[in-house]
């Protein structure tokens, strides 16, 4: 039953234009992010995105899976307001109008691929950076960061410097910083890609726990199909450049989830589906969209 559902949704997602099918479901909860007609490229001849539409609802966990070199990180830089679209709009929250990039800066939590912690700051001051930049007094920012350290498994590390922590711990600090500093939306750019497999599995479960408790809206970039399915409510995939629409898989695994979910039959079915989506289109058959 559930497998059929997945396939139906996936098919809706792959249809030309993509968003027609998902638009009706979006009305359930308000969209916190809507992207319309997004076009961007480093050269005019080879755009990365051409007229891309998608929405993210409040409290959703959405993963983006694309082969490397197709502009995943560029997409996040656009969403964060670090780059301006060449055409189209990116609207966050209620602001419906074509929002200026400057208005997004400071309203979206961003966790880059490398942890990018400031080596001269302690764990506590790194975590409090976002609050500080938004004008919270330093003492208050530190107090709020200190409160959250235990939740993020960082108890007792507040006076340590980043180089004294393991890779997994540094990613936790980076995540805490994004959570504290950002507004309604968190962008996580392949946060676990640099970790070894064991640590990564642990961090995935940990992220699930944190997210299931706080329910912030998370956009997650990964090239790891298992990771995308394990964590997400929806997986958006693309494999033809320029990206003009995402194929979508709605993940209907029950929550709370843990790592054992990857062994379930439906999980494997969805994984096959996602791989097929990526693989099939990678061989150039995606051209039927045009």
């Amino acid at each position: 039953m559930s497998g059929l559902q997945v396939q139906a949704e996936e098919r809706a997602g792959t249809q030309p234009g993509g968003t027609g099918g998902s638009g009706s479901r979006l009305s359930v909860r308000p969209a916190i992010l809507s992207v319309r007609g997004l076009t961007y490229g480093f050269s005019r001849a080879e755009p990365l995105f051409a007229g891309l539409d998608f929405d993210v609802r409040e409290g959703e966990f959405v993963s983006f899976v694309m082969p490397s070199g197709m502009g995943k990180t560029t997409l996040f830089r656009l969403l964060a307001g670090l780059l301006a679209p060449q055409a189209g709009t990116i609207a966050v929250g209620e602001e419906r109008a074509a929002a200026a990039e400057a208005s997004r800066l400071g309203h979206i939590g961003y966790m880059p691929q490398r942890d990018s912690l400031l080596p001269w700051r302690t764990v506590l001051d790194n975590a409090a950076l976002g609050l500080e930049l938004r004008g919270t007094p330093k003492r208050e920012a530190r107090r709020r960061a200190l409160e959250l350290l235990p939740v993020f498994g960082l108890e007792g590390t507040e006076r340590k410097h980043p180089h004294e922590l393991s890779g997994g711990m540094r990613q936790r600090v980076s995540f805490l910083r994004a959570t504290l500093g950002g507004g309604k939306l968190l962008l996580l750019d392949e946060p676990f890609s640099a970790l070894d497999a064991m640590t990564r599995a642990g961090m995935q479960e940990w992220l699930l726990q944190i997210w299931e408790r706080h329910r912030k809206t998370i956009l997650f970039i990964t090239h790891d199909v298992d990771e995308a399915l394990l964590l997400s409510d929806r997986v958006l995939a693309a494999s033809v450049s320029p990206v003009s629409a995402f194929s979508e898989i709605a993940v209907d695994l029950p929550r709370p989830r843990d790592y054992s979910a990857v062994l379930e039959e439906r999980f494997i079915r969805m994984k096959r589906e996602l791989l097929r989506l990526l693989g099939r289109e990678m061989h150039g058959l995606g051209g039927d969209r045009r």
């Binding site: 400071g106 309203h107 880059p112 990018s116 400031l118 001269w120 950076l129 500080e132 930049l133 950002g182």
Partner: protein, 255 residues
């Protein structure tokens, strides 16, 4: 602390060995005292003239520190300017680098023409020597700032002032201290040269005058004190570096 002492042991032993070799060599080979004096005579001369030497030491140290301080201020300002303005980066930075092809020693007499025989001509020569390493290393420090951190801070709503104070400036500190350590060592040379060009006091003047009188032990005692001063200034710069950058990089504390 124990590890520190044992780390200094090989170097200390080597220095003692060289000193013994000097002492024995000058005695056994019968080298004239006005060519290489016995090391013991150098120390005797140093002790005999301790009050004069202390005065000259203080004068030269004062010139070096004053010049160094002004170089830190001017060099940092230049680096900030180069960092902040694209025009300065394209004009001032290459000019500062190219200016190093000018032999500073040849330029130094001009400082005397401009600033006279008082302390300011010596300070000016010290600045000539020390401005470059501080300005260039600090400017390079600014440029070495991790752009990903900058992007991240911008995404979190950082203003220009935040970016400078919380990203650029801390990133430039290691480069600044590299420049400061270099400058601290050569500042003594600058002050000495300044005194040679004309002056009434300082260890540079003292060694030059002693050399004119063929008093080699006095020359050597002056030179030893000058190199001691260079070492002390270097150590002070490194101490400041450790204090400011402590905890930032692996191994910086335990070493």
């Amino acid at each position: 602390m124990m590890r520190k002492a044992s780390a200094a042991l090989p170097a200390g032993t080597f220095i003692l060995l060289l000193a013994a070799l000097w002492e024995a060599g000058t005695m056994l080979l019968g080298i004239p005292h006005y060519i290489i004096p016995k090391l013991s005579d150098v120390f005797v001369s140093m002790w005999d003239n301790r009050q004069t030497l202390a005065g000259h030491f203080a004068v030269t140290l004062g010139e070096a520190l004053l010049g160094l301080g002004l170089s830190v201020a001017l060099g940092t300002l230049a680096a900030v300017w180069i960092e902040g303005s694209r025009l300065a980066r394209k004009t001032l930075y290459p000019l500062i680098v190219a200016s190093q092809t000018i032999p500073i020693i040849a330029l130094s007499p001009i400082m005397v023409l401009w600033f006279g025989y008082e302390v300011w001509s010596k300070v000016a020569v010290v600045i000539l020597f020390t401005f470059f390493p501080i300005a260039v290393n600090t400017a390079d420090g600014f440029r070495s700032a991790d752009p990903e951190i900058g992007d991240l801070m911008r995404a979190m709503g950082a203003r220009k002032r935040d970016l400078f104070l919380k990203w650029k400036l801390p990133s430039a500190l290691p480069g600044f201290f590299t420049g400061l350590k270099m400058a601290a060592t050569i500042s003594v040379g600058g002050a000495t040269l300044g005194e040679w060009l004309g002056g009434e006091s300082g260890l540079g003047m003292y060694t030059k005058r002693a050399s004119n009188m063929l008093r080699a032990e006095a020359v050597f005692s002056g030179v030893l004190l000058l190199s001691l001063m260079g070492i002390l200034l270097f150590l002070a710069a490194r101490l400041a570096e450790r204090a400011v950058l402590s905890g930032r990089f692996p191994g910086e504390q335990g070493r």
